[in-house]
């Protein structure tokens, strides 16, 4: 059985001024396997971030002393690449672009689903250089990114390297659309010029192989955009 060894070591900083919400988030994230510290204003956030090491920051933009974006700017100014997930009550056309331009890795508009928050944090931590990236799961399929091994119901499967590459990139963003261009770049790199329907060929093979093996996942084609892997609707 494969298990994450280091999942419990992930420490998050929650910057949220609403005490009740901060407490709920902290409890929820601890229950999801993280450790979490809470601060309620920009000043405290600056201080804690310079003295302690965190895996990621959950940052509310509406803080009492200053705009939460100040924390983000200070981090990026110090060239600290720590993933930051911004929570904002402002979803307006005036705020969204500005928030991301300041260097946030992702954002969630309040109110959000708690599972979504956990999924987004995990996605941020899965980025290169983070330990959570080791094992990816969708339905009854699992993929060990280090051993580059596909499991179906925990049984190892034999797949071709190209199919594995496609599966990995899709599983890293399961439930979301992966642009076709991204799959193509992953497969062939930027230099070589693959045929225009090469990606389709590999996706088709992968799909067939997964079905033959009895996987309960489905690779959907979003025509004109890309592909999406998700657990099959029951």
């Amino acid at each position: 059985m494969l298990r994450f060894g280091n999942e419990c070591a992930m420490r998050l900083l929650i910057v949220e001024d609403n005490e009740e919400l901060a407490k709920l988030l902290s409890e929820g994230l601890v229950a999801a396997g993280f450790a979490a510290d809470v601060v309620g204003n920009v000043g405290d956030a600056h201080q804690v971030l310079t003295t302690k090491h965190y895996s990621a920051v959950v940052l509310d933009l509406g803080l009492p002393d200053e705009d939460g974006a100040a924390v983000l700017r200070a981090l990026r100014l110090r060239e600290n690449p720590i993933p930051v997930l911004v929570l904002t009550a402002r979803s307006g056309v005036y705020d969204r672009v500005a928030g991301l331009r300041d260097g946030a890795d992702d954002y969630l508009v309040k109110p959000f689903a708690f599972e979504e928050l956990v999924a987004r944090i995990q996605a941020l931590l899965r980025r290169p250089g983070h330990l959570l990236a080791r094992l990816l799961r969708v339905g009854n399929i699992a993929f060990d990114t280090e051993a580059r091994q596909v499991f179906l119901d925990d049984k190892p499967q034999i797949f071709q390297a190209r199919e594995i590459a496609v599966l990995e990139i899709l599983m890293r963003r399961s439930g979301r659309v992966v642009p076709k261009q991204l799959v193509e770049d992953q497969l062939f790199g930027l230099s070589s010029n693959a045929g225009s329907n090469a990606v389709e060929v590999y996706v088709h093979r992968l799909r067939k192989q997964l079905t033959d093996a009895g996987a309960n996942v489905q690779i959907h084609t979003i025509r004109g955009v890309g592909y999406l892997i998700k657990e099959a609707n029951s």
Partner: protein, 463 residues
């Protein structure tokens, strides 16, 4: 009545031409009249001087008879009749004492003998001598109760008489000097006026650049003429108030968003971390509906003060691709699919990317809701800045085509999941982009929404 001019410059030009016209007539005429009077005066003086000299040779005998004895040089002066000067002298009885005329007659008719000097021109003279123009005087000479009239006339056409020629020539010449000067003044005036109104022209250019999205700019007040300054200040003050109004509106929506969403977030998180999954699931769908409504109401409020920066260029193809990717999981969860079609190259339009994303998203969401399970919603990009969203639902009755864009309008009020605000938001966003939105039913079934945006100037040229 003065014609109505739109431009100050043309008004000034019109008035100036009027003034020039009047000046060109009045000024030379006045000068001519003045000069003429001076010339006449001069001639009168000359004639009187002659008369004075003649009177020295006029004597009255003790019997009361007039006697004239002219020296030879004076006789020679009057000898040629009307060639230069003519002279005649008459006594009280009307008898001619002396005449330089050939017929020995009086120059001046005796019935006009007056007590004061009388000046006359040729019309008073005998018909026989009407050809040249004469100017003359009849001066009474009183001595001891007796009167004699010395009459002297001058032929104005005689080469020696130049005063009237000078006056006549003057009128012609003054025109050559005065009229060009007037036109030069006119040209200088236009230059002066243009320079004076240049700050106003500059201010107008600045005013043109003011957009609701760029309310911080003000009209320049430097070099502004003091007559116009109050207007410019008043406009700047109005802009201050306008900017403040916009800011208050935006701040209010931002504050309202925060105040409304914080308790919703709290509630949502509490529900999501509830141990009882069944109750949590039911509560969650309630709060999702509520959150949705709050979100869309805030958007509507925000769009009240929303404007598009005319310089912002966005790639419609890229945004639509983002929407399709974003909405695909929702479609797949309902056993439906979505596809992006049409142009694959960038389509540059003028617009706000978040707003355009939101507009397409809302129409796509609507299409996914209505398309039949197992079918695909198609999003088709046109190279002229259009997005067609095609579904395979039951279509929209003709009578509802206008209604669907109204706030809170829903075809089926019992059906949950729709707030009736989505398409109203789309309509407002399209309006802010000066675009159009139309809806049609497809012959093969389902509805087709077409959103048209404005291409950027650059891409307009290449299409």
């Amino acid at each position: 009545m003065m014609p109505r001019f739109k431009s100050i410059l043309s008004r000034i030009i019109f008035l100036h031409i009027l003034v020039i016209g009047i000046t060109a007539i009045v000024l030379p005429s006045a000068i001519y009249l003045l000069l003429n009077a001076t010339a006449t005066n001069l001639q009168n003086q000359t004639l009187r001087n002659h008369a004075d000299i003649i009177s020295q040779y006029l004597s009255l005998t003790p019997e009361g008879r007039w006697n004239l004895e002219l020296p030879a040089d004076l006789l020679a002066l009057y000898a040629h009749g009307y060639n230069g000067f003519a002279l005649s002298v008459a006594d009280d009885s009307g008898k001619t004492l002396f005449s330089s005329l050939a017929d020995h007659s009086q120059i001046f008719p005796s019935d006009t003998h007056a007590a004061e000097p009388v000046y006359f021109t040729s019309s008073y003279l005998h018909e026989a001598r009407d050809a040249p123009i004469y100017y003359g005087v009849s001066i009474p000479e009183h001595r001891d109760g007796h009167t004699a009239w010395i009459q002297i006339a001058q032929n104005l056409e005689h080469p020696d008489v130049i005063v009237d020629d000078i006056v006549a020539a003057f009128l012609f010449r003054i025109g050559w000097i005065v009229i060009p000067i007037l036109f030069l003044l006119f040209a200088i005036d236009i230059v002066i006026v243009r320079r004076a109104i240049r700050p106003i022209v500059n201010a107008s250019k600045s005013a043109q650049a003011i957009e609701p999205s760029r309310l911080e700019s003000r009209l320049p007040t430097s070099n502004m003429p003091s007559e116009i300054l109050p207007l410019v200040d008043a406009i700047n003050n109005a802009l201050d108030r306008l900017e403040k109004g916009f800011r208050i509106q935006r701040d209010f929506t931002a504050d309202a968003a925060h105040e409304l969403r914080t308790p919703l977030t709290l509630l949502r998180t509490r529900i999501d971390t509830l141990p009882d999954r069944k109750i949590a699931g039911e509560l969650r769908s309630d709060i999702e509906g509520m959150s949705r409504l709050v979100h869309q109401l805030l958007q509507i409020a925000e769009l009240e003060s929303f404007t598009v920066d005319p310089d912002e260029l966005i790639d419609l193809q890229n945004i639509a691709s983002g929407v399709v990717g974003f909405m695909a999981p929702l479609a797949l969860a309902q056993d439906k699919n979505i596809a992006l079609m049409g142009v694959e190259a960038p389509v540059w339009i003028r617009g706000n990317s978040d707003a355009v994303f939101q507009a397409i998203r809302n129409v796509v969401e609507n299409a996914i809701r209505h398309t039949a399970p197992g079918t695909t919603v198609e999003v088709e990009i046109g190279k002229r800045g259009s997005v067609r969203i095609l579904d395979r639902g039951s279509g929209i009755p003709e009578k509802d085509h206008e209604l669907i864009f109204r706030r809170f309008w829903r075809r089926d009020r019992r059906r949950s999941g729709s707030t009736g605000l989505g398409l109203a938001i789309v309509s407002r966003i399209i309006e802010a982009h000066a675009g159009t939105i139309t809806v049609q039913n497809r012959p093969e079934g389902g509805a087709a929404f077409v959103l048209n945006f404005n291409l950027s100037r650059e891409s307009k040229g290449s299409v």
